[in-house]
Symmetry: C3
Subunit: 200 residues, 3 copies
Amino acid sequence: MTWEILNIIGTIAFAASGALVALEEEFDFLGVIVLGLATAFGGGIIRNLLIGVPVDSIWEQDVLIMIAIGTILLIFLFPASWINYYWEKWGSFFDAIGLSAFAIQGALFAEQMGHPFIAAMVAAAMTGTGGGIIRDMLARRKPTVLQKEVYAVWAMMAGLLIGLGYSQKLPALMLLFVTIVFLRMLSLRYGWKLPYRKIH
Amino acid sequence: MTWEILNIIGTIAFAASGALVALEEEFDFLGVIVLGLATAFGGGIIRNLLIGVPVDSIWEQDVLIMIAIGTILLIFLFPASWINYYWEKWGSFFDAIGLSAFAIQGALFAEQMGHPFIAAMVAAAMTGTGGGIIRDMLARRKPTVLQKEVYAVWAMMAGLLIGLGYSQKLPALMLLFVTIVFLRMLSLRYGWKLPYRKIH
Amino acid sequence: MTWEILNIIGTIAFAASGALVALEEEFDFLGVIVLGLATAFGGGIIRNLLIGVPVDSIWEQDVLIMIAIGTILLIFLFPASWINYYWEKWGSFFDAIGLSAFAIQGALFAEQMGHPFIAAMVAAAMTGTGGGIIRDMLARRKPTVLQKEVYAVWAMMAGLLIGLGYSQKLPALMLLFVTIVFLRMLSLRYGWKLPYRKIH
């Protein structure tokens, strides 16, 4: 139950971020829906592909799909001033919830398929960030999660822990979930960056 | 039989549009072939992936693949003046046939797999427009189907109708096919656009 | 055994090329790892998808994944002057080994799945060049293999021969491997280009 609520919050956050990028790029109504859905479900689709879960199991999530479409329609209809106000205030927090919930879910899937811990890390990273990468590619932006801020690392940390045998009981997973959200918000608050280097 | 002819016309139109974009972007000979094939078959491949049809069933379509390669070779060899003349005159019409035939085919596939009607809509849209999206991403263009004109909507309308139980008998499907082609040509003729909005 | 060594060299070359492009685009540490892995394994993943090999068989290659990550870490830590020196000197040669080994491997996979020879050509081309195409798309570059130099053609030649029944015994495959590497280096040395044409 708790899990489903987190999943719903994450789906809403990701669908909204896709819809907002589409509006910024002046996509039309359908483009807004496509980008919203691709952001919300794209990461899970690639994850399923990579770890061997049938991709068409996506259609069993029809409630989530409806919630995502509802979110996108609201974003399309909201006054621009509301969007700018609320997204700036709450957008990052919702997004952190999505990142954390999706990453843990992805790692658990990979574990259930019996793959090595590196698969759990990749599955967590893909589920948490894949939708954002697809969103940026469709909008012809450089994938921000590969360039800025400490973002995917927290997803991979969740994957590593679960891949190495971290408890899959609900209280332990909730602790992990809250920790990931907290670390993501911390890294945003203090502008943490991963090392990078210039070669020219 | 009728169905196969529509499929062939659609494949030719999509292969040609991929090859022409590749020429415009000054891709080399192989790039022209790759972009042509990706445009003709990319939508169907993603559709198969999403609705659980084995992706490698593509290789059973070897006649269609040969037709697509033949089309691409012709485009590469034709005098530029012919291309510009005939493509401007007939290109949109062939493309509308491809959109309509592929969308209906995609929706039928999704129905046969027993997925909910939203899957039929997505399958119709992906089959009809996915190739064009892949084409634009490989050519580093913004996907036009997400930005301009009423295009994918007609595919989704076909998907919605079939997903809601529209007759799958041939005469009914032919009526739907002609209607989609007609609506697409109408929307092009009168410059219909989907709503869009600015948020900045 | 020989085969595994070629596979390792190819993986190292492709992982390094992905990591270097990521550094040039100023991706952060994680972006460098993602682009390196996507370049090394992306072609094989798409190939598996297209010819019907389970995509999650990738996780059985855990030694190769570790080698790729090790390569990427080294690239990230090496002094820039070394990178520029050695990559310019040996990069193309390693890359040619990767192209040749991956192309032959891809064609063999397609043959084992019992697909027609056109599948062997596509599988060879995707395995040899797909990683580079994904790399360029994530870095927002035009895919160079579709635009410049005679590159993918050699992969397709390997695919065509194997698809038409070329011997799959090790000595014959080694001969093919060396020939492809040689032709690729020749086409680089003499700046061979595929035909292209302008239509405007």
